[in-house]
């Protein structure tokens, strides 16, 4: 057609390719590009900048403008559970979050409820020290629910504002491990309130990130996502599907391995970075 004269088929393919390469998945990429083509035709937009603006708008539309992006802190001790598959950055993220909360004047305690991974407690201990938080841990191999429960009692007794529970990485396909996670939540909720269940997703993950989110949401409920390792070249486009299909808000992003490398998730900035 004469309209859309600014972009030929190859150029539209390139736009779709850019989205695919950002890990949005083929479905989202195709849908966004066909929406943009239709809008460009209707509005008579033919220039490259105009098309890019439409792309940003169509991507942004997939993020709820009114989603609760702040972390929910309830009456003390508020409990936040941190979950996700292996190696996504849970333990490191807890260190960052604790430091951020301490800077807001909150007293934080961490629970080393990953009792499986070699030296997990030592790793979390290092982060607790850096963040100025306390740590509750048991012996390796202890029951994770017991660690969390014990940490809650400690938090209540010492008047901590916030308890952050670190859990072992687990593949979402492993039913006994997902059941264990659900049990950890139930154990904590006997005596306390879980105000956040943060799913830590690795931005370098492809379409499997959506499957992870779906499974963790089913097992424990997920109130927010932390998207880590955005300081690489991966764009984390799977976040679009996580928000749009599951309605789970991305709350934070990890942008490095240091204590301060944590930022609030801002849909507009994310979309701009995705489009490059």
């Amino acid at each position: 057609d004469a309209l859309g004269a600014g972009l030929d088929d190859d150029a539209w393919d390139d736009l779709e390719a850019a989205l695919i390469q950002a890990d949005t998945g083929v479905g989202t990429a195709t849908a966004v590009v066909s929406e943009v083509r239709a809008e460009a035709r209707a509005a008579g937009v033919t220039d490259v900048d105009g098309i890019r603006t439409l792309m940003a708008q169509r991507l942004l539309a997939r993020f709820a403008a009114d989603a609760p992006r702040a972390l929910t802190i309830g009456p003390p001790p508020s409990v936040w559970l941190v979950v996700g598959v292996n190696g996504t950055g849970k333990t490191t993220t807890i260190g960052k979050i604790a430091a951020d909360q301490a800077a807001r004047g909150r007293r934080v305690v961490m629970a080393a409820a990953d009792t499986f991974r070699a030296a997990a407690d030592e790793q979390l201990e290092a982060w607790a020290r850096r963040a100025g938080a306390e740590l509750v841990k048991h012996r390796p191999g202890a029951d994770p629910g017991a660690v969390a429960f014990d940490a809650l009692a400690h938090a209540r007794a010492r008047g901590h504002d916030l308890l952050i529970v670190d859990t072992a990485g687990r593949l979402h396909t492993k039913v006994p491990l997902m059941d264990e996670l659900a049990k950890i939540r139930r154990v904590v909720e006997k005596e306390g309130r879980v105000d956040e269940v943060l799913l830590v997703l690795d931005a370098t993950a492809g379409q499997n990130g959506l499957a992870q989110a779906r499974s963790f949401a089913a097992a424990t409920g997920v109130t927010g996502v932390v998207l880590t390792k955005l300081d690489g070249t991966a764009k984390g486009g799977i976040a679009v599907a996580v928000e749009q299909e599951l309605g789970i808000p991305i709350k934070l992003i990890g942008v490095g391995e240091g204590l301060g490398d944590l930022e609030p998730f801002e849909p507009r900035r994310f979309v701009e970075a995705l489009l490059g």
Binding site: G25, A120, L171, T204, A205
Partner: protein
């Protein structure tokens, strides 16, 4: 599944003695979609599909295979070829110790893979040494020491050290002194776009001249796999890929991207968190997993 989607295409289109261009086009579209859904990087998908097109176009129809089976066979063989052909082991070495360098992004599974490899080698009667050259991550050395203990393998560790290439070199000296057969060097996870960390990796490699450099990659890695593979290949001489967390349900297309870009076979598969959970990589099984 892909094969049932192919069957649909071929029942709809009439068959002659050869695969028609139209049949090939439709089939290639399905393959492209399947590969992208499996997280194969777009650039690799395009090159792979172009290659399959060439092989399929004008291919004779075999009497014993349906056209759908025919195309599946072509795609499968092409996939297996890129993934490294039959299962490839570690490079053999005349004068021990063999030096194996583990490299990759943060959290990909290097430390666990290093310990698994050590245990596997010990099981074959070899005498490996693990070298703790991740001097950055909190408790990395303790993690490797604990895993080494579990594997029954000694660990060269220098708590408080800050010079990774020097630690690697001293580990190699220890292996020589103790007449050990393999040195497996664990390194910190690093972003391929971090110049300082990539330079450090290069320095570690130059310090010990590995016979085998394994790029460790998480099976859930998406489109970024090509960028990672290219960047690591620029810094060190990658000789193999280890694909981890294959016990999940990620399709694992990163395997194709990584071997395509590095020109190296995937040598091992991580299939669990325990130290026994390491398998030689099976390209044929991976091919059907990727195709879905």
């Amino acid at each position: 599944s892909l094969s049932s989607r192919f069957d649909d295409i071929f029942t709809r289109l009439r068959n002659r003695g050869r695969l028609s261009d139209k049949q090939v086009d439709e089939v290639l579209r399905e393959i492209r979609l399947a590969l992208l859904e499996a997280d194969v990087s777009l650039r690799v998908v395009k090159a792979f599909v172009a290659d399959v097109r060439e092989r399929a176009q004008g291919a004779e129809i075999h009497k014993s295979l349906s056209p759908a089976q025919q195309v599946i066979k072509i795609v499968n063989e092409a996939l297996i070829g890129v993934l490294g052909g039959e299962a490839k082991g570690l490079v053999p070495v005349d004068a021990p110790p063999r030096v194996i360098l583990m490299a990759g992004l943060q959290g990909s599974g290097k430390t666990t893979a290093a310990a698994k490899l050590a245990k596997h080698l010990r099981g074959k009667g070899r005498r490996p040494l693990l070298a703790a050259c991740d001097l950055r991550r909190p408790a990395a050395t303790s993690q490797l020491q604990l895993l080494g203990e579990q594997a029954g393998v000694p660990v060269h560790a220098e708590p408080g050290a800050t010079d990774a290439p020097a630690v690697a070199r001293r580990a190699l000296e220890e292996a020589h002194a103790e007449n050990l057969t393999d040195v497996i060097v664990d390194t910190s996870g690093r972003m391929h776009v971090d110049p300082e960390l990539m330079a450090e990796l290069g320095a570690v490699a130059r310090a010990v001249e590995p016979h085998e450099t394994l790029l460790v990659c998480d099976a859930m890695t998406g489109q970024d796999a090509v960028n990672v593979a290219e960047a690591f290949l620029e810094e060190v001489e990658v000789t193999g890929v280890v694909l981890t967390k294959l016990d999940g349900d990620a399709r694992g297309g990163a395997a194709l991207s990584m071997s395509y870009v590095t020109g190296c076979p995937v040598k091992f598969a991580g299939v669990g968190e325990k130290l026994d959970d390491l398998e030689p990589f099976h390209p044929d099984r991976m091919a059907s997993r990727i195709l879905g």
